[in-house]
């Protein structure tokens, strides 16, 4: 079970959906919500997360920038990160992955596909830590 998951999305409905999907299934203990890139920037330095879920299409500070900043910060450089966005905008997808998102999940998604993707990014990060540092997961 994950302890803390951050979801950054300007849609209340999506955040509620993600929270319900994770908390109700016992997949995460608590889902922290940020309704904008700014809120995410405020939350990030003060907390530690097991997974960060970022929507790409947000006003002002959009998801690509959040991804860049998360990766640039010491505390979260290696946090598993999942980008969520509607299909289309293939450049955005490439850029999100290039900036350090571990996976991309198209909206709309089901709770099951969300959980699978989260497991995927957690697995991937754990694998890369094992590969580099040799620390058992």
């Amino acid at each position: 079970m994950l302890d803390r998951v951050l979801v950054v999305d300007d849609s209340n409905a999506i955040r509620a959906f993600v929270r319900a999907s994770l908390e109700a299934t016992g997949h995460a203990r608590v889902v922290i919500e940020a309704a904008s890139g700014f809120e995410a920037l405020r939350v990030l330095p003060r907390d530690r997360f097991d997974v960060v879920i970022v929507d790409i299409n947000m006003p002002d500070i959009h998801g690509l920038e959040v991804i860049k900043l998360v990766r640039a910060s010491k505390a979260h450089a290696a946090v598993p990160m999942l980008a969520i966005s509607s299909e289309g905008a293939s450049k955005d997808r490439e850029r999100a992955l290039a900036l350090g998102a571990d996976a991309w999940l198209d909206k709309p998604f089901t709770p099951e596909s969300l959980l699978r993707s989260i497991d995927g990014v957690v697995e991937k990060r754990a694998g890369s830590i094992r590969g580099v540092g040799g620390e058992p997961a």
Binding site: S11, A20, K68, S73, P108
Partner: protein, 703 residues
């Protein structure tokens, strides 16, 4: 678990509804902009984003048709924002149609409507997409763009960058630093300043400059405004604005001479803002001169400076009335009549200009209520989520303007009323269904201007306030005497919720009414010179009506005389004035009442109330004051007319006296006391509750 699912679905419904409402609003603005030759790309993008979000969430919640229509609309908007389809009447029509279809589909989701024809919209959108022109060659290549910059732009931002480059609009990078705690407001301020002269393409948070408490942002701008002015507008934060350099031929504004450090050139240190002086030295003519005036249009002013101006205007108003009185005195003397009429002309012209000046300063202080309403909408959603209530918000009059200071003071009382409406007004779904209501509650927030007042209504279609329980509570708290209670009508009883001491926290659960801190709400509204009224019908709903002055700076008052004393009372509470017919006064329970168009009105003689010297006037007047639905007639000796006054607070020795809001100088060396109408009505009416006005016929429905 299914509760949780319902909650998530509610989120979907309320957010979708909000999006569709915002879409209609933005489309109207776009339509207006297009007709006036400027369709704001930001607005197009915000419409796009709204539709995009709607498509996403509709898909997540399995509303396939809604998602598909949003998808078509999104495609269309994507073409519009990327410049492949021009925004013109035809495309706007199709966009409007699309939003209308979304609206109806949402209605269908809520079970309000059934058949929705989406085919005609699909066809229209399809036809329009067919007319798109291919994208033009890449003008961005002329710029030496940092590849890491392009890497964080969304496709749309890249497009806007390209379009501006194509149109030869100079591009800039501005570096600003904000405290994380205040970044939202700081950024809003910056946006407001830049918006008239520049397009903000993106915000790039910078990794190096950001710490735990502050963040450095690079803002990518396109603007035809000279660099020096952009620097000015970006403003007070430690910042820097530099042009984005072109690789090839120079068509950009001349860059400051300094070594080139890379493709993106930055100033070494923020320069002190000396640009306006530079411009003046150059003569201020030509392009710079014009653009500088554009800067003046967006200058930000500390509100205390406006307060000062308003005070001066108030004093000028006092001078004006003094001159007016001299004109009258001169006019009364035959040999000075010529002089009087000349002075009269000058006086009138002075009056006109003064009014224009006052209107001008007032206008500067005005802000629309829309932003406040948005905040209330968010608070309502949150309250609904916490209380697991289903509520829809309907808002009208967001464009109504009110004095900035009033808006700020209004937020807390309004938040309070909204939370009350959700918490104690709207019933749970099951209860609503059981009583045959729409399962989703409605809270309506309406604002409109009424003379020199602004009226804000907060209305819910909830359970209403049970007068009997209010009365029981008021009696148990010793606020009202049980024996006099049976003479009160229900409306009067409900007003007890505003009394200090009526509410305690246990009221929330014990009573379906809403006593929590309403006395504070009323006090705050009264402090703004406003009044609050409450109407409620059990099972039907509750409506709070706030009547507020548009500005605090100047008060229109009625000046009246009682014996040797002169008083002023704010016109906001004066309903009318009439002669007192001594034979029409009847004594009911030892109190004087008069009949006013078929209803009885309690009256109080100010001469008795304030124990001034008895008057010798034969004819007296009744000034009918009303505070929401409560009315009281004040008996005075003479009416001296209406006057704009600037109220000064009473000295410390008098500050504790109830019934007076302050004092004012009428310009003829007379200092008069300004009556605090809400306090006065309270004093007279609530301590002697039986003197409350009888119900008006119009309130018959609320029995």
């Amino acid at each position: 678990m299914s509760d949780e699912a319902d909650r998530v679905r509610d989120e979907f419904l309320s957010e979708s509804q909000e999006i569709v409402e915002a879409l209609s609003r933005d489309l109207l603005l776009l339509d207006h902009g297009q007709k006036h030759g400027h369709a704001d790309p930001d607005l197009v993008n915000s419409v796009f984003r709204g539709v995009h979000t709607l498509k996403g969430i509709a898909g997540m919640f399995n509303y396939r048709e809604l998602s598909e229509v949003a998808n078509v609309l999104e495609d269309l908007l994507d073409h519009v924002r990327l410049g492949r389809v021009t925004l013109e009447q035809r495309s706007l029509d199709v966009l409007f149609e699309g939003v209308e279809v979304l609206q109806r589909l949402l209605g269908a989701v809520r079970g309000e409507s059934h058949q929705v024809d989406v085919a005609s919209f699909r066809h229209a959108a399809h036809d329009l997409l067919g007319t798109g022109s291919p994208p033009t060659p890449d003008a961005l290549e002329a710029y030496d763009l940092d590849p890491s910059l392009l890497g964080v732009l969304t496709e749309y931002e890249e497009h806007r960058l390209r379009t501006n480059a194509e149109q030869r609009v100079p591009l800039y990078r501005a570096r600003v630093r904000f405290a994380l705690s205040s970044i939202d407001t700081d950024l809003d301020g910056l946006k407001a300043r830049l918006k008239p002269v520049a397009e903000i393409i993106t915000y790039l948070p910078s990794v190096e400059g950001s710490g735990d408490d502050a963040i450095e942002l690079e803002i990518l701008l396109a603007s035809s405004t000279p660099l020096a002015e952009l620097r000015l507008l970006v403003g007070d934060a430690p910042i820097d604005v530099v042009p984005l350099r072109k690789g090839g031929s120079q068509t950009m504004p001349p860059p400051p001479s300094r070594p080139e450090a890379g493709p993106i050139v930055r100033e070494e240190a923020p320069r002190p803002i000396t640009a306006p002086l530079d411009l003046e030295k150059r003569g201020g003519e030509g392009v710079e001169g014009i653009a500088l005036r554009a800067v003046a249009k967006t200058v930000r002013v500390d509100i205390t400076k406006l307060d000062h101006l308003m005070n001066v205007i108030g004093e000028l108003g006092i001078v004006r009335s003094a001159v007016g009185r001299i004109v009258d005195r001169l006019g009364a003397r035959a040999e000075l009549r010529q002089l009087a009429s000349e002075l009269q002309r000058i006086h009138r012209s002075f009056e006109r200009h003064l009014e224009a000046l006052q209107d001008g300063v007032l206008d500067v202080r005005m802000v629309p209520l829309g932003q406040t309403f948005d905040r209330l909408a968010r608070a309502m959603r949150q309250a609904a989520r916490e209380d697991t209530k289903e509520v829809r918000l309907s808002v009208t009059g967001g464009e109504t303007e009110v004095d900035k200071l009033i808006v700020e003071e209004l937020i807390d009382p309004l938040l309070h009323l909204i939370r009350n409406a959700v918490g104690h007004g709207i019933e749970r779904r099951e209860e609503r269904v059981a009583s045959g209501k729409d399962p989703v509650g409605i809270i309506a927030l309406n604002a409109y201007q009424k003379g020199s007042n602004v009226v804000i209504e907060i209305e819910d279609d909830g359970a209403g306030i049970d007068a009997e329980r209010v009365l029981a509570r008021a009696i148990s708290r010793g606020l009202v005497d049980a024996s006099s209670a049976n003479e009160l009508d229900e409306h009067a009883i409900r007003q007890f919720v505003f009394l200090p001491g009526f509410s305690t926290t246990d009221v929330v659960t014990e009573l379906s009414g809403r006593g929590v801190g309403l006395d504070v709400v009323r006090t705050n509204i009264a402090r703004l010179g406003g009044v609050i009224d409450l109407q409620s019908a059990p099972g039907i709903g509750t409506k709070f009506t706030l009547t507020l002055p548009i500005t605090l700076a100047i008060l229109s008052a009625l000046v009246m005389r009682v014996g040797e004393q002169t008083f002023a009372i704010p016109l906001t509470v004066v309903q009318e004035a009439l002669f007192l017919d001594p034979d029409g006064v009847s004594l009911i329970d030892g109190r004087e009442m008069i009949s006013l168009r078929g209803t009885s009105l309690p009256v109080v003689r100010l001469q008795e109330l304030f124990r001034t010297a008895p008057s010798s006037t034969a004819r007296q007047y009744v000034v009918v004051t009303s505070l929401g639905q409560r009315r009281l007639g004040l008996v005075v000796d003479a009416l001296e007319g209406q006057q704009d006054i600037v109220t000064k607070p009473l000295g410390p020795s008098l500050a504790g006296v109830r019934g007076f809001a302050g004092a004012t100088d009428l310009g003829d060396q007379r200092v008069v006391l300004v009556l605090d109408a809400p306090a006065l009505l309270d004093e007279v009416l609530s301590s002697e509750a039986r003197f409350l006005a009888a119900p008006e016929p119009a309130r018959g429905g609320y029995a």
